[in-house]
Symmetry: C2
Subunit: 351 residues, 2 copies
Amino acid sequence: MERLEHAIGRIRPLDEEAMAKARDRLDRLTKPPGSLGRLEELAVRLAGMSGSFPLPGRLARKAIVVMAGDHGVCEEGVSAFPQEVTPQMVRNFLAGGAVVNVLAGQAGADVVCVDMGMKADVRHERLRVCKVKNGTDNMTKGPAMSREEAVRSVEAGIAVAEELAQAGYGVLATGEMGIGNTTPSAAMLAVFAGADAEETVGRGTGVDDAGLARKRDAVRRAIAANRPDGGDALDVLAKVGGLEIAGLAGLAIGAAASGVPLVIDGFISTVAALAACRLAPGVKHYLIASHLSDEKGHRLALELIGLSPMLHLSMRLGEGTGAALAMPLIDAAKAVTERMATFESAGVSRA
Amino acid sequence: MERLEHAIGRIRPLDEEAMAKARDRLDRLTKPPGSLGRLEELAVRLAGMSGSFPLPGRLARKAIVVMAGDHGVCEEGVSAFPQEVTPQMVRNFLAGGAVVNVLAGQAGADVVCVDMGMKADVRHERLRVCKVKNGTDNMTKGPAMSREEAVRSVEAGIAVAEELAQAGYGVLATGEMGIGNTTPSAAMLAVFAGADAEETVGRGTGVDDAGLARKRDAVRRAIAANRPDGGDALDVLAKVGGLEIAGLAGLAIGAAASGVPLVIDGFISTVAALAACRLAPGVKHYLIASHLSDEKGHRLALELIGLSPMLHLSMRLGEGTGAALAMPLIDAAKAVTERMATFESAGVSRA
């Protein structure tokens, strides 16, 4: 718990002075005040997170952290894809052939793969192995993991974020791969929101009606069997979560502790970020919501954190793909603060 | 009318064979089928517009066409900014200091400025002058322009699109600058939608409540004075439109006639695109909606065309800024079709 508590203690509020400087600059540029809407808000928040304005050059160095794990709950028939796809896709990420690789390339971001709990032991020089065990347990039959395993997974995520921040990355993003992982995410969301599985379970990678019914049933049974305490995020992560979800929650805490903006992807990433916010409310200020996915519970999860997504593309893929698509908006927000004329310099009359 | 009729006659339906090829490719890539949502739909539509798959390299050559014009209706006190700002901002575009320049630069797009009807005669080697007169007339006191002037402005827009397409641009986008131009746009939308000014008039660059009331009143008086025929888009453009709005409608027709995708920006650009669709319904297939702006009538205008915006950033600037921000999504859609592994090549199991 020491690393977790230390990281939480390091999370600072947004830097008001840097934000005021950003606002002042934006108001002097040749555009109606506030007319860039959320792009201006993003620029101001980036100043607050970075603690400096002009915005630092390190915002150009970006990494999408894709955390992988397997899920015992797949035994309940909750996914359209077989579990062997988790390591297959991780190899695909490492070979550069997945959507996240292509979109990260477009965004100028690196893809960092982390094994947080795959059943199989994949070996690859660029795969970071941080797993505390081989696969999350079937939560319908007991806790997904022990509380200690949850803490260790969260702390592993914190360590990844802190190392990447130290290596000079100025923007991090979450992504994940784990056949079955929308099911624990839906269970966690149901607990955090005090909502029924009806409101939080979606079709994931594309289950049919029968599969959807099995997912809802699995979520209800997991909650009934484990009785997670919605006021204790570690309890929720341990009982109905997943190893890579805990890792992503840690990543969010570690990014916030390092003063690094974290772009969150879709449903699973957002539920992980929600867990992080429950552990440390200050995390919220360092989160940037990328897109609204088609997965059922995503909107609710974003609302619980208090975030509004920028892209509406009806995606439902995960991997960090939506986060990658949002990264050019960060570059755009920064560029606006740096390269525009002011009313004075351009000789444009004000309102 | 000959150029207009000729252009309308050249608009082809989307190429079904190219779209089928794109769909087939997308379904073999390592992702759940359809999981990229509207990004996949965009890739398929780009194939249909271009008439080829793999997608052509010319999609990388992009131009944002910023059409400028002044509005006599400014006499009614409808804008927060003085009219002199139109040429001042055009000079700012030409000098590279406005938001659209910065965001176009980020997107790898060129900015093409066209004087469609500024009051002042700005001279600059990179400003195209296509105006049929110096400023749109005050529509509360008579028609904004004659029908012949509307046709000539539309045809000037068609010519710009056709020339840019011939010069090798594979993606065009609309942008505009014209102090007061949300007022005629709101009037046109009210006529096309059969709606009251209440539903179509917004705050533009930021008028206060009194200014908003004056705008609504101006729109109502303009419609009452001119009685535009909602079934005749040229009549609407002439009576309650604007020179640069007619030019943008022409740009949309010319892009569609040339098989070039057109990314539409905010409220004014969308109303212009709506007018183009009323003149030639086939234009719709070549339109890509970029963002949902904060300007009151934008959602309604998009709905009337049947488009759904990808970005939700609460912007209300115009210039083509939202269109610029959406351009990386076109690059991303194309990249996905070109650079991903298939299930077979990556050895990933299917659902």
